[in-house]
């Protein structure tokens, strides 16, 4: 039987990709961010999951508004890197796990989720901006991507995202191979990228969110999208994807690491939480 060993919540941003590709990790402005990922990278290496489920959103690099999925599940053996408008980044394609993904599709659909099933999906900075900070290439484990619409309203409710995490946990526990699965939810914390409110950040709210995510996530599931957008800026509604990660974990969790840094446009948050039902010493 497969099991979820723990989860990671993390911001994603094109600027992180840019800083990585320009080798700015030791630059005074970016060092705090890159250093912040160190302990989580170490934990992930040590924990060595067999599979990583990643919840993220596509920024109109794979999907357009001709047919924009509320939920999309990548079931391929390989997921190619997207060109977001300035060339593909120089990384190997992600390896998928078709067998597990189709199992997940069956379980999610039986549990009344309606994912668009994608045998071809290309991955943008929603995953790729932070993946190299979490692990080195060659990518250490297959990745099963789940893209959530947090762009074109209506977007799924915070509660629905949380329930999706619970349903993923259910699916993992039904799987008949002994996989150790990690789950990552990505999405910028406070930020707004348009209008006079461009550049809005709210460090206090971001940290309140991190507190509640760890100890009282239900509290975050009753907030409306307007609540999120008012507190964190319009684009920060993508924080609801962290709730999917949290929904897949045990009620109580062990905090592995937490980090926050908000230098320019986005509150960069990071949290790693271990499941308390995991006794395996390597976690």
């Amino acid at each position: 039987m497969a099991k979820i060993i723990g989860g990671i919540g993390t911001s994603h941003a094109p600027s992180i990709a840019h800083a990585y590709d320009k080798n700015l990790g030791q630059d005074e402005a970016w060092k705090p961010l890159f250093d912040g990922y160190g302990p989580v990278k170490d934990w992930l290496k040590e924990a060595a999951p067999d599979l990583i489920v990643m919840i993220y959103n596509d920024h109109m690099n794979r999907f357009f508004f001709d047919a924009y999925p509320t939920l999309a599940l990548g079931v391929g053996e390989v997921h190619e890197i997207a060109d977001e408008g300035w060339g593909k980044r120089n990384f190997p394609a992600l390896k998928g796990d078709a067998e597990f993904s189709w199992h997940l599709a069956r379980s999610l659909v039986a549990d009344e989720f309606d994912p668009t099933i994608c045998q071809e999906i290309t991955i943008d900075h929603g995953i790729l901006s932070i993946l190299p900070l979490l692990c080195d290439t060659p990518w250490p484990a297959p990745i099963v991507p789940i893209a959530v619409n947090v762009i074109q309203h209506p977007v799924p409710t915070a509660r629905r995202c949380y329930k999706l995490g619970q349903a993923i946990r259910h699916a993992v526990e039904l799987y008949d191979r002994d996989l150790r699965v990690a789950i990552v939810g990505t999405g910028g914390m406070s930020h707004q990228l348009h209008g006079k409110r461009f550049g809005f950040m709210n460090e206090e709210w971001d940290n309140e969110f991190l507190d509640a995510l760890e100890t009282n996530p239900e509290k975050l599931t009753v907030l409306s999208h307007d609540d999120y957008m008012e507190r964190g800026g319009a684009e920060s509604v993508e924080m609801i994807m962290w709730l999917t990660m949290r929904g897949a974990l045990t009620d109580k969790v062990n905090r592995i690491h937490r980090h926050y840094y908000a230098p320019y446009l986005t509150g960069f948050g990071l949290i790693a939480l271990g499941c308390t039902d995991i006794t395996d010493p390597s976690t």
Partner: protein, 126 residues
């Protein structure tokens, strides 16, 4: 009030905020479709080579073309452009997200950067 009105976003009239609702997506559809096409490198070359001809091929209206030509990011987003897609236009034209933002706030890039917590730490050379 029905739950869906609470949940569907953009009902609270947040200040200086243009939530990307269905209404906005519908209005900006053609503009966003044009901009989305710039995820293809050949299209980026074609757009840079002749902006007007490329936009004509994508059937943009005169008003839409004028906003792109003026690099008026604020107008484009008010109109229905999605910011994540407009950055593809900007990127193709060598404009950064920081420059877009400063313009939307009515500031110079230097004025805007001075408001950033991390700005002091950042080497200002580039």
């Amino acid at each position: 009030m029905s739950r869906y009105l609470v949940e569907s976003g953009g009902n609270r009239n947040l200040p200086d905020t243009f939530v990307f609702t269905g209404e906005r997506s519908r209005k900006g559809y053609r503009l966003n479709k044009f901009a989305m096409s710039l995820t293809n490198p050949d299209n980026r070359d074609a757009f840079r080579a002749n902006e007007g001809a490329y936009m004509d091929r994508h059937h943009l209206s005169e008003a839409e073309k004028a906003m792109v030509t003026a690099r008026d990011w604020d107008a484009l987003i008010r109109y229905g452009g999605n910011v994540y897609i407009m950055v593809k236009v900007a990127g193709t034209l060598g404009v950064t997200l920081l420059q877009m933002g400063a313009q939307m706030r009515g500031q110079s890039l230097e004025e805007f950067m001075a408001t950033r917590p991390g700005a002091a730490a950042r080497p200002r050379k580039e």
